[in-house]
Point group: C2
DNA sequence: AGGTACAGCGTACGAGATACAGAGTACCGG
DNA sequence: CCGGTACTCTGTATCTCGTACGCTGTACCT
């Protein structure tokens, strides 16, 4: 009736396999393929994940993978969920303490596997792992009397924050590395200049008239070095901003 | 000395062209190419942006584009900045009012051009447009006595929030559409069932034992329909959370 | 006037995803 | 116990794209 067929990707993520047992038994399971793909992504980045490379990793022919996944996109989607760890356990902690840990853990695994950032946009959360994160956040907020809509919003906001921070530190590091590379080929002398700061680039490019405050920020080294962006201080600073906002909301309503 | 060559992409974004005038004059400028590419992305999405399609659009041969951009990646990077509008003008508004408008405008243009979301991760902000957004936020916060590091953090957090919200509504809409498509081919009857709700999918898949709060949320229709995710109410709710947090910080310090 | 650096472009190649078809295999019903 | 059939695995072929290379002509320089 109202029950419609699930999108194939979703079905596979939840192990809803229509197992009409006939013919030869499959020699692998989806899990092994996913593990192989994740391993490659960890080692070489998303670009290294080709149908051929994954197949080679599990010892099959390229086309055999299509018995297990409908397309490369589908593989990536399933990978993304599988690569997400379990959320921290609640252990009766108060919401603020738990959500701080939750958000931090969220950022941490994104920093560990930056390739997850590139997959985030394509799919809404429909995998078991991702949804468990959401469920735990809702649970932590259950005692607060906030309605479910608000709780969902809070969870999304915090995930967003984690993602943003992870993206930021990742792109800073990447940029620094890329600049270092590009710089190498610049002039007659072949000396490698090391990691160029993001601030350096901005400084060369900004017109102080047009970007007054930003110029000041660059000049005062507010961007710091690449390492600054992995530092926890900045992260918790912003996180506290958010948690303060949530706390304001809760007390206002209590 | 300390002055190093800029990465080529960055140089081009700022119009630093090494103009050694010799030979035939270029028959186009980079701007026209970028406009064409943006037009295609708006119409067909990022997937429609091929070197060949862009070239066709401006009436040139594919390979001619490489006189203007170093690679497709470079084109995409430059596109992303060019497609970003100017930030709202400050007009002497207090920081909270301005930043609310700023964040909303930020989200709005991401919703207008969802393909910008897919490009956000690859590059740190180094384009004139993107940096102007940052500068304006810093300017709005100038009267607050916060130091530049904190102001930068606040700006990043708000951009992140805008991005998250835009991503969310976009992926919800996409998911609904995709489900509708996938559903069509399901059973014997060929009737198209229309847009399936995100909640519907979750409901079919969740085990109430494992996802207690989430199940409750789905059952109480807290996810609403696809339209809900474009609604401003949710957006401003979360935004106020953030702004409250920032306000707390400011008063605490003042 | 003639040289040279640079614009535009046709062709060719290589990577990577996937359609298709053939060959073998294990469970089915009889 | 046997043919049939659905399903597995795989090799080959194709199609789409990005981009290296080299040719041709042109306009500015001296």
């Amino acid at each position: 009736m109202t029950k419609r067929a699930l999108p194939p990707v979703v079905a596979r993520m939840w192990g809803r396999d229509t197992g009409s047992r006939h013919g030869p038994r499959p020699s692998l399971d989806l899990a092994r393929i996913i593990d192989a793909a994740i391993g490659i992504a960890d080692r070489e980045g998303l670009a290294g994940v080709r149908m051929s490379s994954v197949a080679a990793q599990v010892g099959m022919a390229t086309m055999s993978l299509y018995r297990y996944v409908g397309s490369k996109d589908e593989l990536l989607t399933v990978m993304a969920d599988a690569a997400t760890p379990e959320p921290p356990t609640l252990d009766g902690r108060p919401w603020r303490v738990y959500l701080a840990a939750w958000t931090q853990a969220n950022r941490d695994f994104l920093v560990d596997r930056p390739w997850l950032l590139s997959l985030a946009h394509h799919t809404p959360p429909t995998g078991p792992r991702t949804l468990r994160w959401l469920d735990r956040a809702l649970t932590a907020l259950a005692p607060t009397e906030l309605d479910l809509g608000q709780r969902i919003n809070i969870a999304s906001t915090l995930t967003g924050y984690a993602t943003t921070q992870a993206t930021l530190s990742h792109s800073m590091i990447t940029a620094a590395a890329a600049t270092a590379t590009a710089t190498t080929s610049a002039a007659g002398d072949g000396s490698i200049t090391g990691l160029a700061d993001y601030g350096d680039i901005l400084d060369q490019v900004l017109d102080p008239e047009d970007y007054p405050e930003l110029t000041a920020a660059v000049r005062s080294h507010a961007f710091g070095t690449a390492e600054k962006w992995i530092d926890d201080a900045d992260f918790t600073f912003g996180l506290d901003l958010l948690l303060d906002g949530i706390e304001t909301l809760i007390t206002r309503r209590g």
